[in-house]
Symmetry: C3
Subunit: 417 residues, 3 copies
């Protein structure tokens, strides 16, 4: 995963354009992707697909022609969606187009202006402070023209058509944690799930933030009812502890599963209430859709000083942290996939487990095994209302033990799904 982050890092992504396409091409080397191109001007929910932005070069050069700010050095240096400009102007006039972080004078901020025509540069405060007065040549060699918005999907068919979506944004330029780590974890998660014949159909969505999720939702309106659960992955690689942000509903199954997995794994973590700000859970959880989609990150959205700056570079993420995020996703989906509701077919009194070979013959001992307790719990709570996760939580038994007990009882035709 770390290698994938490093490969994707230099590309200049935005909400449209060739940077997104190049990113999806690389991801496509790991898992098959179906790419969608949606034309500029397409109405998507309350929004319109904007013009496509592409950029070849951008710089600020001093009187000697030295590039003091250079897009070639970092894609962060240009304001996202900058309109083309080619001009010479004194520093004082230029200042209105320069963005810095006075509190972190060595870091370059990440700024965009998607929907208001603007041009600008982002640079370190130190760089700005060192610029002498005088005229500067500014150049943004970009195009903003009718084109397409690009997003991609990868689908792992399940035993049922009910879907779990995993969504990550692909619109941030050289930001490692806020974007690339999520892409990498999603990609390896897809590879792992593909080997497992999952119960649910898993759909991975790689789309630009906000407008991409809105475009996907607009184009999949007829399929939304199939989306039962989902997870937005972002900030998936920093060294902080895991954070799960619950869906708007707060009691969606994915919320309960993530809380259970994080809690029973003893990992340090935090669980947060939904807020209508952050990543694309904003769109999936908008009140008209209100999907059971949560968001998993390590240090959450905007919760670290390096957020949306040049300091969110590959050194800010770690292979171990991404592996840990991936492991939690796999555990959670493993629980989600088995979290059936069963109905006890012999609900009047306990069925005689002994004659079915499911119960210790020798009575009187107090050390009844966990597996037998799990069977009794599954029988007790299999009333069509409780799922196996309820059984695990109420009994305090591990989910795996409960699921194994359910499988044994199902095999003995004592419960049905």
């Amino acid at each position: 995963m770390y290698a994938l982050v490093e490969r994707l890092y230099p590309l200049c992504r935005s909400i449209t354009g060739d940077g997104v396409r190049a990113t999806l091409d690389i991801v496509g080397e790991y898992i098959p992707l179906r790419t969608h191109e949606v034309p500029t001007g397409t109405q998507v929910l309350d929004w319109t697909v904007p013009q496509e932005w592409n950029i070849r070069d951008a710089y600020v050069a001093d009187a000697q022609g030295n590039r003091v700010v250079d897009f070639a050095a970092s894609s962060l240096h240009v304001l996202g969606y900058s309109v083309p400009v080619s001009a010479t102007m004194p520093l004082d006039e230029l200042r209105a187009h320069l963005h810095t972080l006075p509190d972190h004078p060595q870091w370059v901020p990440y700024r965009t202006s998607y929907y208001k025509p603007e041009w600008g540069f982002c640079l370190a405060q130190e760089t700005l402070d060192a610029l002498p007065d005088g005229d500067y040549e500014v150049c943004v060699d970009s195009t903003l023209e009718d084109g397409h918005l690009t997003y991609a999907e990868h689908v792992i068919p399940g035993q049922v058509s009910d879907e779990v979506i995993v969504s990550c944004h692909v619109c941030h330029p050289s930001l490692a944690n806020d974007n690339l780590a999520g892409i990498a974890v999603a990609t390896y998660l897809a590879r792992a799930l593909a080997e497992e014949q999952p119960y649910y159909t898993y759909r991975f969505i790689y789309a630009p933030g906000t407008i991409g999720a809105i475009t996907w939702l607009a184009r999949n309106a007829e399929r939304i009812d199939q989306v039962k659960h989902g997870l937005v992955l972002a900030c998936a690689g920093d060294r902080g502890q895991l954070t799960y942000k619950q869906s708007r509903r707060g009691d969606a199954e994915i919320d309960r599963v993530m809380r259970h997995v994080l809690s029973s794994s003893k990992r340090p973590h935090s669980v947060r209430e939904f807020t209508p700000y952050g990543y694309d859970e904003r769109q999936y959880c908008s009140p008209g859709f209100d999907l059971g989609v949560g968001s998993l990150s390590r240090t959450p959205y905007a919760g670290y000083p390096e957020y949306h700056t040049s300091a969110d570079n590959p050194g800010f993420v770690s292979p171990e942290a991404m592996a840990d995020t991936l492991a939690v996703c796999r555990e959670a989906f493993s629980v989600l996939d088995r979290n059936r509701r069963y109905v006890n077919l012999s609900p009047y009194g306990e069925p005689q487990l002994g004659r079915r070979g499911l119960y210790d013959a020798l009575g009187g001992r107090s050390d009844t095994k966990e597996a037998q307790m799990a069977m009794l719990w599954v029988l007790s709570l299999s009333d069509g209302e409780h799922a196996l996760l309820d059984v695990a939580e109420r009994s305090g038994l591990p989910f795996d033990t409960v699921a194994a007990a359910a499988a044994a009882l199902h095999g003995a035709e004592l419960i049905k799904a």
Copy 2:
């Protein structure tokens, strides 16, 4: 408010009679009142309007003719609703008619006998202890005859006919906190609301305790369904912290508003569960009506030693405390009046706030303003189930910010009430 308390203090109020009329006349100088006179014998719910009681003089005089207990000195000295008496009797015989507070030997208690014909005097234990044996002349120059029960209303018309009632009792004689402070706060609250074109119609009820509220309820049965919220004001002026006693329902909107306002104002305060004892919330919250009526006081009902004694005099209340009670009422009604439920008209994905001028154009920064967060929260929760107070509580944003965001979204036709 304090001046009003001082003016009303000397009057001898009871559940009927000229003391109530004189009190309402004075209040009528501050706000227009509509006075109701209900004849003795009128059936009101399970009760009957009693005879009207008026008193001109009452005293106990010693053998030398010195008035050792004198109604002229304090209206508390006579047992409320004393029947007329004119007699001479030895102290030992008189004692059965004398009420004192042995634990507070300098204070005169407040006692009544509305529904059992009795006569009696209230006096300080010290006074009683100093009386020599011997004969005493006792005189209660009162009348108990068919007449009327008097109460008054003041109505501030709102944009809707749904009503908020504010109720205070007017039946206690010279007791400053338990009665007069509530009258004063209610009166100034009415004056303040009159200048504000409120959403709800506000009805102020000045009535004797228990029988007055019961009379009002009996005569307004057809209008009860319009009463959506209410507040009983009593003990509104002592120096203790504010106490809100919840309605019987406990989750009425007024309960939630008062809890929110008291909690977010950082005032020291306490919130109490409903009990079927106290002031006229007993009647408004009786199970047949079960209105959303709470009670606001400072130190609550019967919660201070001065309660129902001569020590509850104007010195026991403070102008600052009454001003604070008034301020909380105004804040609460300001929230209540704006606490609408909205429906998001663009609930699928977020609406594009930027093109409506409601959102910062420059993206990427983490310091999104509170006003924008409030708009996202209102949009997220405007599903017809959540009111703005829910939005404020769930978001942690000030109610005013949330209400302003709702107004902006309403102006942009993104939500409707």
Copy 3:
């Protein structure tokens, strides 16, 4: 009760057989019992009534003919439901049939093999350790033949046919706390209730564990709807604090009553969630029946080292502990029996209690009596939804005070059941 425990202690009970009959004969000297005999092979729910087991003698004798393990000394020495055996074998071969408690070398364990044909002996580890190698004669003089399963009932008719069941198991051999204390408490509870003309019909069930309860449930299917509440009694006599295990529903009325009684009595106690393991609440609370049946014990099921060993002898239980268990049962059933829901017949405003002689005539005092407060609370909450226990818990008043207030109001025709 202690004498009854001592009398029952030597008998060799099992899930069938003459030991159960002898036990019920003795209990029948205290309260009239109706005994049921259910033939071997009868299908009961998912189970079949097993063959009847009776035993006359059993021992292990050494080469000199000395009985080193002897059923005559304790009924625990033989594995419950041992098939007949008469053989001589070396110690090493015998070991597979010997059960000990290495951690408690002086105690004899209790073991059974009801549904797998086996024979065996239970003995102290110390006894086993002292046995020299060599041949031993083993004899189990038992019969396992078609016969009957025996259980008994005692019914105290109530004012209504709705039933409360009290169930205890009668299948354990010489174990004092785990079995006999529960039988003794149940028996004295029945005697006490018989003198009280209870509201509910109380049905006492003395049946072997698991198969007995299942048999009772199978044979009373048509009456199950009448069973509104129930209590399983077991481990009722040790010196530990009381433990109430809630029904599967957790909010059944018996759960609320037991929590209230234990909590308001200030006894040290614990309340546990339902688990599908333990005594016959397992059967009564199986999801098809899901009865409101909890379980009262002192130290709970399998919660003490003496559990299912020879150390659970009469010395392990105390008369005081059994008396305390009995007292709590009586208090709980006293509350349960009076826990009616009433409807206030005068719900609009407070009814005038004074003219009905239910209220102090002299007003103004703050020391309103508990009885009057209880009447106001009953009136306030008598809306058909709240029962008297709700009133007691919400008001903080003793249940007896609340019930007395309800009786007074009922007498005054202010409420109806």
